[in-house]
């Protein structure tokens, strides 16, 4: 999965840099979107997966669900950081500033802080069962507030591009965008699976086996 994702990413990035035509208004700067937009989509998808993992944990208390949540949040945070950096690199030549309080940028920053908070909470709890439970609990309002934060920031200010749709974008660009999105998705799935595997092994190592019924002398 990881190898396939990497190959797809290489292909997608090559096509984005060299094959796709430059954007009509932004020129070559527009090529940044082929990595920026997929990072945004997939980070949101990762957080959404964490939300469903959190619900699963609260109902089943399965250690695998906790490991899954950790993987999703960490990959989501990674992509979120990438998204913010890329967004800044895109903003400077396009809008003349490294940062602006545009709704999507602001939402991205708030999302990052929210889920970094959840990861920090994990570090503050030593008991594995409590840690898993609280991570799940903290993830739920965190995720649900994203929707409200999106609308509140959108109404507050808007400078970001209005959402393009395939009808308004040339097919050569849509193809490259989708290819890169698939690449990011494959890599994210692979990273989440690997991280979840490690988290599961760590959790198992933290929990000793049941003691023998009779004390061994």
């Amino acid at each position: 999965m990881g190898a396939l994702g990497l190959l797809t990413l290489v292909l997608g990035q090559y096509m984005g840099l060299f094959w796709s035509p430059p954007e009509r208004m932004m020129g070559d700067v527009g090529r940044m979107l082929f990595t920026h937009v997929p990072a945004a989509w997939i980070s949101l998808l990762a957080y959404t997966a964490a939300f469903f993992g959190a619900l699963t944990y609260l109902f089943t208390s399965r250690r695998g669900a906790d490991a899954f949540i950790v993987g999703c949040i960490e990959v989501g945070v990674l992509l979120n950081v990438l998204l913010l950096i890329e967004g800044s690199l895109f903003a400077k030549p396009t809008w003349g500033v490294w940062w602006t309080w545009d709704p999507r940028l602001t939402l991205s920053a708030v999302m990052l802080l929210t889920f970094v908070g959840v990861l920090t909470l994990r570090r503050a709890v030593s008991d594995p069962d409590t840690r898993a439970s609280w991570t799940a609990i903290a993830s739920i309002p965190a995720y649900m507030t994203i929707i409200l934060t999106y609308y509140s920031v959108k109404w507050w200010k808007s400078l970001h591009q209005l959402q393009s749709s395939p009808e308004t974008v040339d097919v050569s660009m849509t193809l490259v965008l989708r290819l890169n999105a698939v690449a990011y998705l494959l890599l994210a799935i692979w990273l989440i699976a690997e991280r979840a595997r490690v988290a599961y092994r760590e959790a198992k190592a933290e929990m000793p086996p049941l003691p023998p019924v009779e004390k061994v002398t």
Binding site: V110, A124, V125
Partner: protein, 225 residues
């Protein structure tokens, strides 16, 4: 005993503690006032302050809310009263709503005391209706108290609470701060374009979400040991 009666009993006891220990409430108020002053000193001009009076108020209230939540749980954790209530038993959602109600009212008291100071320091005149100001203040305080009561418990039980509470809580209440700050400023300006309704709607939605969600999740935290 009914859930409602338990909620009222818990809120009454908390508020009684606040009233009795006037130093605590006064500490909150002066802390928020100090924040107000610092923001005023940092602002480049009075016109900037005037245009952002709502924001000034809500920054002060946000920071005061973290102190209030810390204090509210310090009282419960000091001699294990929280555990005692869970085992009494007090139903977890009664515990949550009682504390959240009391936290809301405490913040409201600070807010109403701060409002005239904000109006004075930021040199605004209230062109909109006073009832709108009260509504934004009430919904904003409730919006801060709802998730704050849940996260205050989490951080009271975890290590490193002084950093953890703001880190968990601040990003979560961005919709409240934006809505309440923008809405309050608009009401001060008389809301000529009729925009405050959207912000009010968002505040209602945030409150509906978190007052229900946090009540459901509170029990798991309260019982975890």
């Amino acid at each position: 005993m009914s859930d409602f009666a338990q909620i009222i009993a818990i809120a009454k006891r908390e508020l009684y503690l606040e009233i009795r220990n006037r130093g605590r409430w006064a500490g909150l108020f002066f802390f928020a006032f100090a924040v107000l002053l610092m923001v005023a000193f940092a602002a480049p001009s009075t016109s900037v302050l005037r245009a952002n009076a709502g924001g000034v108020l809500w920054i002060g209230l946000l920071l005061a809310s973290t102190r209030s939540l810390d204090q509210s749980y310090a009282v419960e954790m000091e001699d294990g009263a929280l555990e005692g209530m869970v085992l009494w038993p007090v139903r977890p959602w009664s515990l949550y709503y009682g504390k959240a109600l009391s936290n809301t009212l405490t913040l409201l008291a600070v807010a109403f005391a701060l409002l005239p100071l904000v109006i004075g320091i930021c040199d605004v005149s209230v062109r909109g209706s006073l009832s709108d100001v009260v509504l934004f203040t009430a919904l904003g305080c409730a919006g801060l108290a709802a998730p704050g009561t849940l996260y205050g418990l989490i951080t009271a039980k975890a290590r490193g609470s002084s950093v953890l509470l703001p880190l968990l809580y601040f990003p979560l209440v961005v919709p409240v701060i934006l809505s309440a700050a923008r809405g309050t400023t608009l009401v001060f300006e008389g809301d000529p374009m009729g925009q405050s309704g959207s912000w009010l709607g968002l505040l209602w939605a945030f409150n509906a979400l978190h007052w229900s969600l946090s009540g459901l999740l509170y029990g798991r935290i309260a019982e975890d040991a």
